[in-house]
Homo-oligomer: 242 residues x 2
C-alpha cells in the first residue's frame, strides 16, 4: 500500500465506501498497520473517556491458531443455521446473479476459510457498572473506527458476533478474566476484491424531524444511490407487537 | 464550509482528529448537510444489514424545542451530579489551566446552553429480539459515522446519554413507540473552536497479542502522541473484583 494511495481517500468518501470485507489475500498485515489501526480505533469516544476497551490480536502463534479455529467452527455453525433460517437457497437465492446468492457464496467462502484471515481482532469491553443498554456506546464506536482505519490503509474487515458462541472457550484458552465482555470478532486482511458503495434502504425510511414518523422533505439519498431491502427475508423490525 | 476545505480531510486524519464538540456557533445546519450526515451514518454495518435505526432530528419547531428543553434540564442535572461525584472542583480542578478544569468549564457551558445547539439528533434502535449485549453493534457504529461525517463537513457534535434520563417524557412528547430504544442524544452544529488530536491512554495498555495481558512490542503510539489518564478520578475498570 503506497503512502500516496493511503492518503488519497477522503473522510466522507471513506465512510461512504467501507464495505464488509470477507475474502482476504495471503498478504500478512504488518505490525505498523496494526498499530495504526488500533491507534485510530481508540480515538473513538467512550463514556467519561473511560476507554474501557482492550483488543486481543490473533495472528499465527499457537494459541491464536487455536482461538481462530474455535471461531471458525462457530462461524460455520452460525452460517449454516442462518442459511436455513433465512432461506438463502430459496426465492432469488436460486438465481446465481442475485444479491442474495452472491452474499450466500461470499458467506460460504468466509465461513469455510475463516481461519485463513491473517488477523482476527477480539475487541473486549471492561464493565465498570451493572450491564447497561448504553455500554455499547463505549465499545462499538471504536470498532467502527477500526474498520474505517483498515479501509484507509488499504485493508478491510467485517464485524461479526462469532465470539459470542465460544465465549467461555476463548476465555479459558486466552486467559481472559471472567468479567470481561467479548464484544465482537473482527477478521482483518488485505481484500480480495474491493471496497465500494454499500446498499441500504432509502434514507427517507430512517429520518424523522420533530417527531416520530414525520419524514422531512430533505431526507433524500444522493443521486444514483442503489438501495436494498433490509435484513433477512420475512424480517420485520418489531414496533410494539400486540 | 467551502467544498475544497471539506474534501481536504483524509480518512485517517479525520478519524484521528474528531473531537467531542460542545460549543456551537449560531450558524444553522443546512438541510443538505443533515441529509449527507445521516446518509453517511447509515453506511455503517448492522447485524444482517437489518438497519434497525431511526433518527429523530430536533431543530426549531415547537415540539423540538420542548424536547431540547427536557434534554437540557437532564444535561444540567447529570452534569451537577457528575461534577460532585467525580470531584471536578478538587485537586487539579482548582488550577485554571488543568485539563480537568478546562473540561469542567466546557461542560458548564455545554449544559447551560444545551438548548442552543442548532440540531439535536436522537438515534433510535428498533429491537427485533430480546435485548442482547450485541445490540449496540447495530446502532453505535452508525453514531460514530455520524460524528465523523459531521467533522468531514466542518461541523461537530458529541455523543451523550441525556436521553436516558427523560426517556418516557420524550416518547410521550414525540410520539415514539414504547418498544423503541433511545440510544443516544447527539447535539450538532458548527464548532466554536476546532477539532484536533484527542487524548487517550497509551496504546500499550489496550493491545494484547495471542492472549490476555500479552503486550506486543509493536503496540506504540505515533511519535508525539499526548496521553491522558482515563475516566473519572478514582475510577478503576473492574476486572474480577473479589
Amino acid at each position: 500500500m503506497s503512502e500516496s494511495k493511503t492518503h488519497m481517500i477522503g473522510l466522507l468518501e471513506g465512510i461512504a465506501s467501507t464495505r464488509a470485507i470477507r475474502r482476504f489475500t495471503d498478504e500478512p498485515v504488518s505490525d505498523e498497520d496494526l498499530a495504526q489501526i488500533l491507534f485510530l480505533a481508540t480515538r473513538a469516544p467512550s463514556g467519561s473517556n473511560r476507554q474501557p476497551w482492550r483488543f486481543i490480536v490473533l495472528r499465527d502463534d499457537e494459541r491464536s491458531l487455536q482461538a481462530k479455529q474455535l471461531l471458525g467452527e462457530m462461524a460455520r455453525r452460525m452460517w449454516e443455521f442462518k442459511r436455513r433460517g433465512d432461506r438463502y437457497d430459496e426465492g432469488s437465492g436460486q438465481r446465481k446473479d442475485s444479491p442474495k446468492s452472491r452474499l450466500a457464496r461470499s458467506m460460504d467462502h468466509f465461513a469455510a476459510h475463516f481461519e485463513e484471515a491473517p488477523v482476527v481482532i477480539l475487541p473486549c469491553f471492561l464493565p465498570y457498572r451493572e450491564s447497561n443498554p448504553m455500554d455499547g456506546a463505549s465499545i462499538y464506536p471504536c470498532c467502527q473506527n477500526l474498520l474505517l482505519a483498515a479501509r484507509g490503509l488499504g485493508l478491510g474487515g467485517v464485524m461479526t458476533g462469532f465470539q459470542a458462541g465460544v465465549d467461555q472457550e476463548l476465555k479459558a484458552l486466552l486467559g481472559i478474566p471472567e468479567s470481561v465482555v467479548l464484544s465482537a470478532c473482527i477478521p482483518l486482511g488485505h481484500p480480495q476484491g474491493s471496497h465500494g458503495p454499500v446498499r441500504r434502504r432509502p434514507l427517507s425510511e430512517f429520518v424523522f424531524e420533530g417527531g416520530w414518523d414525520q419524514t422531512p422533505t430533505w431526507a433524500v439519498d444522493p443521486t444514483g444511490t442503489r438501495h436494498t431491502r433490509a435484513g433477512p427475508p420475512g424480517h420485520r423490525t418489531v414496533i410494539d407487537p400486540k
